[in-house]
Each structure stands twice: as structure tokens, then as C-alpha cells.
């Protein structure tokens, strides 16, 4: 079985975001780009599955829709251990076009397990994975905290409101992964970084596709009122403030 995982290329999570062009575009100066944290964990889990020969995973491929500027991030995934990469060469537009491009690029490749993250840390969309599954006409499982293969069959844990479910699903399918999928992201070793230089990145030109949404502009959060301090010795006063002023109880 071949595994595909899709990555979005996002600003490092500690970035202080700023906007330019009348707040229509992210100011990318000085930003350090990273693999979206969930996608890095998805990769880690895919590699763990591949490490155990009993699982019969032939290869782990990374896919990304984006311009050549994202190649360092793709190389990082290769350095961590992905075997090869597919990049659809277009500016990542809205989720619908990203998913449509991914679907076109992978439709004929027969991946058994396709992994996406539950959300990108940039647009917090939580939509690409489900859209991709619908475009491919295959099942999806959303909120996946564990993927195992038992006797050739994928066994999944799905987080639901107030609990979890263990389920089996027939391949091919899209796993939309969240917390729990892997403990810590795997780190690229020197050998991996050397090897990544020669691993293939297949560049595909985009299919025609129209976006369904667009960003009008961005806004910064309204500044919160300054913090009101209560003296530690009289900490109990806080409760009265919460009751009478904030009116939360």
C-alpha cells in the first residue's frame, strides 16, 4: 500500500503576523516557513507505519499545492523521511482549488491511505482533507488520533464529541488527523538531509479550476482591555469581581 500525505506550508507558529496591501496580503518578510504541525505529525505516523514491514507500506509520498517557493518545506519532509514528492505548481488559492488540484494530481496514483491535517495554522480552514475525499469519491475519517494496520486492514480511532470510536475503513481513504496521531514530530537527521537533495519532486502544472471563496481583507484582533490586578493576599476578591463585574457566575 502506498501512503500520501498532504502538507501546507505555513508561517512558524510563533510568527507575529502583519498585513500589507491595504490589509489584503500577509507581510511575508522575515517569515520562517514550516510544515503545518499536523502534517508533520501525519508524516511521522506514516513513517512509523512504514518502519514495520508487517504493515506492507511501500512508499510515503508528500504532496503540496504551491509555488516553487515552498520547495524548502517539501525538502524538509523528504529529509525527515518521505520517499518522493508531488508539487502542483500554482499559488495555493482557496481550499476548494487546492483540493481539486490535489485530486487531479493523485487520482491515477493509487494511494491506499491519504493523510491530511485537521487544519492549517494559517487559514484555519479544516476543509481541504474532506474536499479531497469527496473529489476522489472515497471515504474519509475526520478527527483521527490513531492509524494502525491489522491484517492488511486500516484500523482507525476517531475522536468524537465526548469520546472516541474505533473503526475500520476500506482503502483508499482520507485520514484527517489530529492530536494523538504521533507523539513528537520526527526530526531530520544529517543523512536524511543529504539524501533529500536527490529525492524526486514531480512538478505538475495545474488544471483549470475556479475558487469559491476569497479573502476580502484581514483585521487584527481588537486590543483587549488592560488586565485588572487583584492583590495576591486578598485573592478572594477576584471571585467577587467575576461575579459582580464580569457577571460570569
Amino acid at each position: 500500500m502506498k501512503v500520501l500525505f498532504c502538507i501546507s506550508n505555513v508561517p512558524d507558529t510563533t510568527t507575529k503576523v502583519k498585513f500589507v496591501n491595504e490589509s489584503k496580503k500577509l507581510d511575508v518578510s522575515g517569515i520562517q516557513w514550516v510544515i503545518n504541525p499536523w502534517d508533520e505529525l501525519a508524516l511521522t505516523r506514516a513513517l512509523e507505519l512504514k518502519d514495520d514491514a508487517a504493515n506492507g507500506i511501500q512508499s510515503v509520498t508528500v504532496a503540496h499545492v504551491g509555488t516553487v517557493g515552498a520547495e524548502p518545506t517539501i525538502r524538509k519532509a523528504l529529509a525527515i523521511g518521505a520517499d518522493d514528492a508531488i508539487r502542483v505548481n500554482t499559488e495555493a488559492d482557496d481550499a476548494y482549488t487546492i483540493a481539486a488540484q490535489l485530486a487531479e494530481a493523485v487520482r491515477s496514483e493509487q494511494f491506499g491511505i491519504i493523510m491530511c491535517g485537521i487544519e492549517s495554522s494559517d487559514h484555519n480552514g479544516s476543509t481541504v482533507g474532506g474536499m479531497l475525499a469527496e473529489f476522489l469519491g472515497c471515504p474519509s475519517v475526520t478527527g483521527v488520533s490513531s492509524v494502525k494496520i491489522e491484517g492488511g486492514i486500516p484500523v482507525i480511532v476517531r475522536e468524537i464529541d465526548g469520546g472516541k470510536e474505533v473503526l475500520t475503513v476500506s482503502a483508499p481513504f482520507v485520514a484527517i488527523v489530529q492530536k494523538g496521531i504521533a507523539k513528537e514530530p520526527r526530526i531530520a537527521a544529517m543523512r536524511g538531509i543529504m539524501m533529500a537533495r536527490t529525492k524526486p519532486i514531480k512538478v505538475i502544472e495545474p488544471a483549470a479550476c475556479e475558487s469559491l471563496t476569497e479573502v476580502v481583507d484581514y483585521e487584527m484582533p481588537k486590543a483587549r482591555a488592560a488586565c485588572k490586578y487583584v492583590d495576591a493576599e486578598n485573592a478572594g476578591k477576584l471571585i467577587a469581581l467575576l461575579q459582580n463585574e464580569a457577571k460570569v457566575f
Binding site: G125, T127, L212, V215, L242
Partner: protein, 323 residues
């Protein structure tokens, strides 16, 4: 034309989240001069369904079918898309929980409808259709234009007040099931947490960080939560160290919550932590370091040792309750 709101149930009951969704859908429907139709899957009693009319649903479609016992995302999306077409839905409203996150994108492709997920306010305008949503994990917001005829919105939890606007209760029962050939997932086992207040549902959350120093120190924090009817939570290092269970961890890589009140006790306020809690209405910070970034996000603060402050808070709450 209609606004269609999709509702799950928990053992045949709705929860606050369900009524938030109907309240929201009903306000959006007012903006479009159209009715709200609530779509409920699975067995729910009439008395429970009737509550949806209280929050503004003009009609409730209740679908009961054995095939709905397993939440198969593809099959569910197919069935909902059919109802959306039959009811000429122009806006679909779903929760921004895992079920909504599973269905909204699939519906988007089926109906060729643009999605905005995690919206927390009414649309900014309906012509053109623009919504406001959090981006960059709460570090900014975006106005998103949805260009398609049909729009899909998922509503961030705890972001919209319940509004009663009673309508006569009109219920249509349906036994139409999903397309069985689409069902490719099989649930083997369900583990439901019982008794505990769910972190994502809680109005008040009491959360501890590394400043709590050791797992043995948690008793007063848990006591405070118990007295307030609050859920307990923690920062990531706390769950990584095994001091508290993993499902309590909030933040970018944990649960994203928006309670009315969040106590951050011995939590420094790293951006990845704030990403999960910045939508809270009120944040209280308790920290020994007056320069801890959490105080910039908080409305109320106590500079001091959590282990000394907590017992005082517990006392004060007991006193409040005794009055």
C-alpha cells in the same frame, strides 16, 4: 429558499451547541428573509425536536434510519446534500466540531458551495456574502467572500448567544436513509466519557500549567473547578509529562475552546497555548512572573504563587455559594 441547519444528537438529546446553531441559522435566515429548516439525524423524541422550534426553526426534518447508526462521512454528506437540494437551501449551517468539519467540505464539493469554517459572528453582509472568521489561530481575523450561490458555514462553539424566537412546531418525519453502497466505514467500538463536563462544552474552564510544579498539587485546582461546575484543562507540557490526561490539553495542538471564563494558572501564555483559548470571553491569569505574556491576554490577574492563591479562591467561592 431556506437556511438549513444540520444537528447531531447525543443519546437522543440536543445540547447547548445545537441551540446555538439554530439561533444562529435563524438570524442568518432573517437577513435573507427566508425560513430555517432544521435537519436532525437519528432517533430524537418529539419533545426534544420541539425545542428547535423555540430557537426559530420553522420546520424540523427528523430522519430515522438504521443506516444512520454509523457516522459514515461520505454517506451522511450524500443524504444531507439531497435534503439541501430538496429544500432549496441557500445557506447550510453546521457545527465546527469534528462532525461538522467532516461534513462541510464534502457538502462543498457536492453542492459546489463555498465554505467558511469557524465563523463567530453573523455575516458582515449578504450581498455580497461576506463572513468574518478567525485566522492564524486567533492572531488575526479575515473577511471572507463566498462567491457561490449556496454557502456553507460552520459555527465556532460558544460564540453565539442562544436567542429564543418561537415558531409553530412543524415536524416532518422521514425514513429515507443514506446510500448504503457509500458506507465504507464500520464502527467496532465506541468509548464515551461519562460524568465529566466536556472541555469543549464547558462555560468555565480551570487550567493549570507547569507553574503548578507537580501533579500532586492539583487538588485545589480540581476543587475550584468542581465548585464552579467547570471543566479542568492544562498546558501541553503538563499533559506531555503525564501530570494530567491528554484530553485536557488546550492550545494549537490540543483542544480549541471558547468558554465564558478561562483560568490560566501557572501558564506562561505561549502563542501556541493562546491559539486554543484566545476566544474565551474572560481570561484570569495567576502567575508569579508579572511579565508573563498571559497577562496581556487576561482581563483579570493575580501576581502570586498559585499554590497559595488557589486555596483562597476555593474559600471565596464557597463563601459566595453559601450566600
Amino acid at each position: 429558499m431556506s437556511v438549513l441547519v444540520f444537528l447531531e444528537n447525543w443519546d437522543g438529546r440536543f445540547k447547548k451547541l445545537s441551540f446555538e446553531l439554530v439561533s444562529y441559522a435563524s438570524k442568518v435566515a432573517d437577513m435573507l428573509y427566508s425560513p430555517v429548516i432544521a435537519l436532525s439525524f437519528g432517533q430524537v423524541d418529539a419533545s426534544e425536536l420541539e425545542k428547535l422550534a423555540t430557537y426559530g426553526a420553522s420546520k424540523v426534518i427528523s430522519v430515522e434510519n438504521d443506516l444512520l447508526g454509523t457516522f459514515d462521512e461520505q454517506a451522511f454528506a450524500g443524504l444531507i446534500a439531497g435534503v439541501a437540494q430538496n429544500t432549496d437551501a441557500k445557506v447550510l449551517v453546521l457545527a465546527n466540531n469534528n462532525a461538522g468539519k467532516a461534513l462541510a467540505p464534502r457538502l462543498s464539493v457536492r453542492l459546489k458551495a463555498g465554505v467558511a469554517s469557524g465563523v463567530s459572528k453573523l455575516p458582515v453582509s449578504t450581498e455580497p456574502f461576506v463572513v468574518y472568521k478567525k485566522v492564524y489561530s486567533g492572531k488575526a481575523f479575515a473577511n471572507i467572500l463566498i462567491k457561490t450561490d449556496i454557502k456553507i458555514l460552520t459555527l465556532a462553539q460558544n460564540s453565539f448567544e442562544l436567542v429564543e424566537s418561537p415558531k409553530p412546531f412543524v415536524c416532518e418525519k422521514s425514513a429515507a436513509g443514506p446510500d448504503g453502497s457509500l458506507i465504507k466505514t464500520q464502527v467496532k467500538e465506541v468509548q464515551i466519557q461519562s460524568g465529566k463536563i466536556l472541555l469543549t462544552d464547558a462555560d468555565i474552564v480551570v487550567s493549570g500549567g507547569r507553574g503548578m510544579k507537580s501533579p500532586e498539587n492539583w487538588a485545589p485546582l480540581v476543587e475550584l473547578a468542581g465548585l464552579l461546575g467547570a471543566a479542568t484543562a492544562c498546558s501541553r507540557p503538563v499533559s506531555d509529562e503525564g501530570w494530567r490526561s491528554h484530553d485536557e490539553h488546550t492550545g494549537q495542538t490540543g483542544k480549541i475552546i471558547a468558554p465564558n471564563l478561562y483560568f490560566a494558572i501557572g501558564i506562561s501564555g505561549a502563542t501556541q497555548h493562546l491559539a486554543g483559548i484566545s476566544s474565551s470571553k474572560f481570561i484570569v491569569a495567576i502567575n508569579t512572573d508579572k511579565d508573563a505574556p498571559i497577562f496581556e491576554a487576561a482581563q483579570y490577574g493575580i501576581i502570586g504563587d498559585a499554590l497559595k492563591v488557589l486555596p483562597k479562591l476555593v474559600e471565596a467561592v464557597k463563601e459566595m455559594k453559601s450566600k
